[in-house]
Subunit: 412 residues, 2 copies
């Protein structure tokens, strides 16, 4: 895309009321816009990155057999009363509104209830199981505080996958496969090395749930890591019984602040029993379906990347989620740069092309702020040498590359 | 996809409270689920079609220079008060709710206000114009009645594009280019022949708006068509003055019921003036930006296709938006059919593969209900002849085709 066409502008300063680094950087770079506290729009560059995070997650959910659907935001009160999750005293994040005829409706903050009801029509026999269903859908949560930028917002797309299994054993196999998919997701988006699966409190049906926690000072959580074993646990379950259970020693644990980038739960029959989701087993006996749920917020993942991979000059995107792979910069060499832009885009390489009339210094500073993985500069000297200057956003040194080699370099 | 894995089931009967044909068929075929009146979820097959409609629209919006972003559902009361569109007496489709601190917020039913405010930060000079911005975003509208299936719902994805121009002349050029893009969209999704751009009432800034109206008895609108000129107009503007204006004669008009599948408006300075969206012209004078807005509801387009292209046996999808291009049916010939399935999918052809243990009659009836463009049957006779039976959903006659020719036939 030609930057002269891109309608968003960068800003020298972040808004004064924005305290989180991720939102400060993303707003300055024109990736997002703050509509109100805890409510952000995604502008073209930001939407490209968000959609790439979504696509990575989608591929991994499909790879473990997930089937994609899309449920609704508007929620039926009577359904949530059956599981005792309608009452604001029990669930304190509801946004509620009403139809014209006065019927109260809620805005979905999670989707166990409507999906369990839906699956009642689809599942009847053991032959229908296991099944994994997921969506990317907008959740609404009436958060009291919202000060972590796009990491904790009142409206956000969430990937929520739900699994339906016959037995505890089958559930555990499904759970393990989705857990592996989560590890692959965080690896692919560049958070693998700093993200730990951490034990957290479970529920009636399993002793623990697991959270995927990325180490960062911007986090709202505290985890304890046992570096030797790679185990981690949320501070909420740090007690002698749990330590004994997991075979960990308190003196080996390192305390870290962290961001919860995903979580996975065994739900057992918590929803299938009150909502009557059963199947006929091989002997014809009705059994409740065993469920699991598995969440990732793509915008929180994007915010976490912005928090922890950025540097003092701006954003630093991994290739997997960068809005564009290459930032091509013309320094008053538009004819040659146009030619390179056409060659690269024709070869299917995603290029943001700075074809504007601005100083080299301004262009470089803005390029660092936007954070594409590669910067390719075509200056006056390039025209003489036939070579462009190629620099990775994560490195200080650039290399000279013949114009003709650029396509093959980026195609690999 | 193997149908044995697909979790949705077809139904013999539609729900009794569902009066619209589109929803009856889509529910029976397992494309959508009714969550409550006017609120539908999209199941895997339905989501595939919806996403294809979205992708067709996206390609055409990009082709006229549209830049995609995503605004939010939660809306700031103070902003909408500036244009006098917050009051329920003025706008009767608001859903409203409140933050924890009591601040009232709305759920966006359109996005002129937040986008105009956003563009204030991005537009300052005549050099920044024209610009076209669009999104696919969930709108909420508190409709009193909702009985047209997925064609009028309380929650739906809408493509809304907004244009920002310097002058009335520039606006008219932009308007004409988006209008052409709309015509291409309806052509591509199979509604071209039955969809008319129809004059409708304008506003303070232009005499008319235009609606794209698809002729259908399921429609909520009445249009009058002059077949000779191809002109059409909404019944709301059928009067002598308008007829004279458009050079139409009342006796040549044919009355038809129709579905409004899109609309385009010239907004003039209706939003830019109260919200202060201006630019400096070439003489350094501040001028208000001239705006236009352009809407299409992808689910309404999908519902319209379901209404008007279906037959007595079920849905009939055009190739551009079918969930899968081919419905491959094995009649106890799984080994051969598996081989064909692998060959077709490896070649990048989208195939729904009925690998289930069911009678031929049941499989054929269900295949007609689901409505993929091509049905490929591999029966016992095929094994002897080396040929599959290929039939278009829109035709009665099938043709025999050698197994080895299937990939090249569908690849073209």
């Amino acid at each position: 895309m030609r930057q002269s066409q891109l309608f968003t502008r960068t800003k020298k300063d972040a808004p004064k009321d924005e305290v989180s680094k991720n939102a400060q950087l993303l707003i300055r770079a024109g990736f997002i816009n703050k509509e109100m506290a805890g409510v952000y729009s995604f502008l073209p560059l930001g939407l490209r990155t968000l959609n790439k995070v979504i696509q990575v997650i989608r591929e991994e959910m499909n790879a473990v057999g997930g089937q994609e659907l899309s449920l609704t935001a508007l929620q039926d009160k009577s359904l949530w009363e059956k599981t005792d999750r309608w009452d604001d005293a029990k669930v304190d994040v509801w946004f509620k509104t009403a139809l014209k005829n006065g019927t109260e409706v809620g805005l979905g903050w999670s989707h166990e209830e409507p999906l369990t009801r839906l699956m009642q029509q689809q599942i009847s026999s053991y032959r229908d199981l296991p099944v994994l269903v997921y969506q990317f859908q907008t959740k609404f949560r009436n958060e009291t505080r919202a000060k972590s930028g796009i990491m904790r917002t009142r409206e956000f797309i969430m990937k929520d996958l739900y699994s339906f299994s016959r037995t505890k054993e089958e559930h555990e196999k499904v759970y393990a496969s989705v857990r592996s998919a989560y590890i692959r997701v965080f690896d692919r988006v560049g958070l693998g090395k700093t993200t730990y699966p951490a034990f957290a409190s479970g529920g009636a049906f399993s002793k623990y749930s697991e959270e995927f926690q990325t180490v960062s000072d911007a986090g709202e959580d505290i985890i304890y890591i046992d570096e030797a074993s790679g185990h981690a646990l949320n501070s909420e379950v740090l007690n002698d019984e749990v330590l004994a259970d997991l075979g960990l020693k308190r003196e080996n644990l390192v305390e870290k602040k962290s961001i919860e980038v995903g979580n996975i739960f065994s739900l057992g029959t918590k929803f299938s029993e009150p909502l009557g989701l059963t199947f006929k087993d091989e002997e014809g006996k009705l059994q409740p379906v065993i469920m699991g749920c598995y969440g990732i917020g793509p915008a929180r993942v994007m915010g976490t990347i912005a928090e922890i991979l950025s540097d003092e000059n701006g954003l630093v995107w991994p290739e997997s989620v960068a809005p564009f792979r290459v930032h091509l910069i013309s320094l008053n060499t538009d004819e040659k740069a146009d030619e390179i832009y056409t060659a690269l885009t024709t070869a299917g390489i995603e290029v943001l092309y700075d074809d504007r009339d601005m100083s080299a210094g301004e262009k470089f500073a803005e390029s660092d702020l936007l954070g594409m993985p590669y910067r390719v500069v075509v200056g006056k000297r390039s025209l003489a040498s036939g070579k462009a200057e190629v620099k990775k956003r994560t490195e200080d040194e650039s290399q000279e590359m013949a114009f003709d080699d650029l396509v093959s370099f980026f195609k690999k």
